[in-house]
């Protein structure tokens, strides 16, 4: 076979070079793609034979002492793997040094005769060592049945060396191949899995695409991520679900806030399964997880919101066990209502310590929702009227899971109702009074006027005279009542201005001194400040003072004494106090003194309207009028009004 013929057969030099390159790359790819070392070597042998156009190419694996080699792969021949090929010292030395050689007679010296015979029968035999790090030394053995030229021989050796170098890069250990196969299988599973999956071994972690997306990670991340509980508390680094799974060997479920690689926090729900080896120790873990942020946030927010709502409700709420009736949970309002700490409330069973009457139990349960009125008692003895509403809460299985009791403090409502009744009474009386006064005064005047004629004509000292006087005094009583009603209904002087409460008090006292001087009664004035500005109707306030001072004088009519009128200011509250040194107000009378027509002085001309009128005026000015008294210590009335915001005009 001459060169020109070879050239004709293999095309131009450039074409040959391109073909060689392609063959080399194909060979390297074939080796790399082989899934076992065996296959890789076979692929390498086939590639090598094509590359050098040899009749046969074998790959030999040399013994560590290079005394012999074993055939590990072969292309183009019947020689089978595992065949032992003896060698001599020269060959071994050359292979160990990485030198290629053409087998001549010196290379078969000392070898068994049959081996020498076979070698001599071959046309050309080349040996090209391949040194793959981490692998035993292997070599190509290329055989041509016919002898080939020295040039072609050199070219073939170069090609094989080049192939060796190329495949060395692509070559992988059997271990690596096995792992790649595992990885490939795992990858397929991981790829196909819709949720996030992380497979961890001590060396590394594999995350599937879904998981990478959930973690906003590119590639396999270092997997050290911030974890927090749903309420925001960080999960200790030494107590993550992963570490628990590894420690215990038990699967762990979790719902946690996870800080993704892009810094965004999401809520992940997951389960970590430990993978145990034959000794029972964990060598890997598999985590499956998904993003439940939307659902969880909603749930979490709802739960947290409900909890806060429960706590912040101004209404007292208690949750009671339906069987034992033990208190399971209460809110702050409830604790305030019963005046106890949580520890003295939770776990309590009837009779509860806050029941005013422990011998009385609640009405027997008849309906899902019940309402009744009850009395609680605080530890300080204060009785609190409450309205209780009891509702059954259904569990998921339809049974009664809990009883919720809502306790409404009725004290304020009662007081409010009382005031409402008071106001209502006052208003209706006011309307009535104006209309009625005229109607009464005409006939009353007729009675009084005519009686006066009769009295003038009657003989003093007679029974008739006494009776006429009685008629007159009785009719005059009616006159007083009507006059008081008219005071009440007075349409005038609701015009308010900024005035000084001190001035009003001083003017009224002056007026009272002028109009009815009772000798044994002294009026003492104490004004802390000359100007106590209030926005009010001066006339209406005067009326309060007139009423209070009149009452005080009346109370001391028999005994004499001192009326003290005091005015002061307490922050943004203006106050005035009128007190006497009279006999005081009996405790059973005190709650009623502001009620219209309530009087203890009917016999001496009291109408029972003065204090209700005063009360009404105080309220209409956004203030209050409060009475205090104890028998024997006189009575005091304190008027409170808001200080006028802009001071005196």
């Amino acid at each position: 076979m001459n060169v020109s013929a070879t050239a004709a057969a293999f095309g131009t030099a450039e074409e040959r070079m391109q073909r060689t390159e392609r063959q080399l790359i194909d060979a390297a790819l074939a080796v790399n793609e082989a899934s076992t070392l065996e296959e890789a070597l076979e692929a390498l042998a086939v590639s090598a034979r094509q590359l050098v156009v040899a009749d046969r190419v074998s790959i030999l694996e040399w013994d560590p002492d290079f005394g012999a080699a074993t055939l590990v792969a072969s292309a183009g021949g019947e020689r089978t793997r595992g065949v032992r090929i003896p060698s001599n010292e020269l060959n071994s030395r050359l292979i160990a040094r990485g030198e290629s050689f053409v087998v001549g007679k010196e290379h078969i010296e000392g070898l068994p005769d049959d081996v020498g015979e076979r070698v001599r029968a071959m046309g050309t035999l080349l040996c090209v060592p391949l040194n793959f790090s981490g692998l035993p030394t292997v070599s190509f053995q290329a055989i041509w049945h016919e002898p080939i030229g020295a040039q072609v021989c050199e070219l073939a050796m170069s090609k094989l060396r080049l192939l060796g170098r190329l495949t060395r890069v692509a070559f992988r250990t059997e271990n690596e191949r096995a792992r790649a196969r595992e990885d490939a299988r795992l990858s397929a599973v991981l790829e196909a899995f819709p949720d996030g999956l992380v497979v961890r071994t001590p060396e590394r972690a594999i995350v599937n695409p879904a998981g990478r997306e959930l973690l906003a990670a590119t590639g396999d991340p270092p997997l050290k991520i911030g974890l927090r509980e749903l309420d925001g508390t960080p999960v200790p680094e030494d107590d993550t679900p992963l570490l628990r799974a590894i420690r215990t060997g038990e699967p762990q479920s979790y719902v946690l806030r996870v800080t993704r690689y892009d810094g965004v926090e999401r809520i992940h729900e997951g389960r970590i399964a430990p993978v145990l080896d034959e000794t029972g120790s964990v060598f890997a873990t598999v985590t499956a997880f998904r993003d439940v942020t939307e659902a969880q946030e909603e749930k979490f927010v709802t739960e947290q919101f409900l909890e806060r709502l429960f706590e912040a409700l101004p209404t007292a709420v208690a949750v009671v066990d339906p069987e034992t009736r033990e208190i399971k949970s209460v809110n702050r309002a409830f604790l305030e209502l019963v005046g106890l700490d949580e520890e003295h409330v939770l776990g309590q069973a009837p009779p509860y310590p806050w029941w005013a009457d422990p011998t009385k139990d609640v009405p027997a349960r008849t309906e899902p929702t019940m309402r009744w009125e009850w009395v609680y008692r605080k530890p300080d003895g204060t009785q609190v009227p409450v309205e209780l509403v009891r509702t059954q809460v259904q569990g998921t299985s339809g049974d009664v899971a809990a009883i919720v009791v809502i306790a409404n403090d009725l004290s304020e409502r009662r007081a409010f109702e009382q005031r409402l009744i008071q106001s209502g009474k006052l208003a209706s009386i006011g309307q009535l009074a104006a209309g009625v006064a005229h109607e009464i005064n005409n006939p009353l005047f007729a009675i009084l006027g005519l009686v006066e004629f009769l009295i003038i004509d009657a003989e003093r000292g007679t029974k008739a005279f006494e009776r006429l006087e009685l008629i007159q005094s009785t009719a005059l009583e009616i006159k007083e009542i009507v006059r008081a009603l008219l005071d009440f209904a007075r349409e005038h002087s609701d015009e308010r201005a900024v005035i000084s409460l001190t001035d009003v008090a001083a003017q009224t006292v002056e007026l009272m001194r002028r109009t009815s001087a009772a000798k044994q009664i002294e009026i003492v004035e104490r004004y802390a400040e000359a100007v106590v500005p209030v926005e009010a109707s001066a006339n209406q306030l005067k009326q309060i003072f007139v009423n209070l001072i009149s009452n005080a004088k009346q109370a001391m009519k028999l005994t004499g004494g001192t009326v003290t009128v005091e005015v002061g200011r307490d922050g943004d509250v203006a106050w005035a106090e009128v007190r006497d040194t009279g006999p005081g107000i009996a405790p059973e009378v005190l709650p009623h003194i502001f009620e219209p027509f309530f009087t203890t002085r009917r016999d001496v001309g009291g109408t029972g309207l003065g204090l209700s009128v005063s009360f009404g005026i105080a309220e209409a000015h956004g203030g209050s009028l409060v009475a205090a008294s104890s028998v024997g210590n006189g009575a005091s009335f304190r008027l409170r009004l808001p200080i006028a915001p802009e001071g005196l005009a």
């Binding site: 005229h438 005047f445 006027g449 006066e452 009719a475 009507v482 006059r483 008219l486 005038h492 006339n539």
Partner: protein, 174 residues
């Protein structure tokens, strides 16, 4: 002797007032309505009008204005069923010479009438009056247990009418 014309729609009251005044030595005439009274004034010699305020037809206040329009010198005393601020202030602003609040004693009415005649006499003799007739009347009313708050308020109003630029308090203290 000047005659007093007494107007009240209720006969019992009217007769009662007339008898009270007659007992004090006054001559009286009676009328059941303001219209009737105005007709009487055309023909009869009358020195003083005493009229109820609340009546069907013209009220006492309207009658007061009618009388003043015809005879500015003829004094008018108003009688009211209720000593409300509104009545007092209306009487003040329309220039009543006196005010009596039902139910009143014989003496109340008699002294009111007497003081009006007395002021009329003083005026006729050229004696200047420092206070309005009503102010004096209100002060006497205070003595008769009129509601002091109402009286003060009415006096203040009166003072504003007489001295528009002065303070309320000066009247109370004067």
């Amino acid at each position: 002797v000047k005659r007093v014309l007494v107007i009240d729609d209720e006969r019992v009251i009217r007769d009662l007032m007339r008898e009270i005044l007659e007992r004090a030595g006054h001559e009286t005439l009676g009328a059941g309505t303001a219209e009737e009274a105005l007709a009487l004034l055309e023909d009869e010699e009358v020195g003083l009008v005493v009229s109820d305020i609340v009546m069907p037809g013209l009220t006492g206040l309207e009658l007061l204005e009618e009388v003043h329009a015809r005879r500015p010198d003829l004094p008018v005393i108003l009688v009211t069923g209720a000593g409300t601020y509104e009545n007092l202030s209306q009487a003040v602003s329309r220039g009543a010479d006196g005010l009596v609040i039902k139910p009143f004693s014989h003496a109340d009415l008699q002294s009111a009438v007497a003081s009006v005649f007395e002021r009329a006499r003083l005026r006729a003799n050229g004696v200047p009056l420092s206070k309005s007739a009503l102010a004096a009347e209100l002060e006497t009313g205070r003595g008769r247990q009129w509601d002091p708050v109402v009286v003060d308020a009415a006096l203040a109003d009166l003072d504003q009418l007489i001295h528009p630029n002065t303070q309320t308090q000066e009247v109370q203290d004067s």
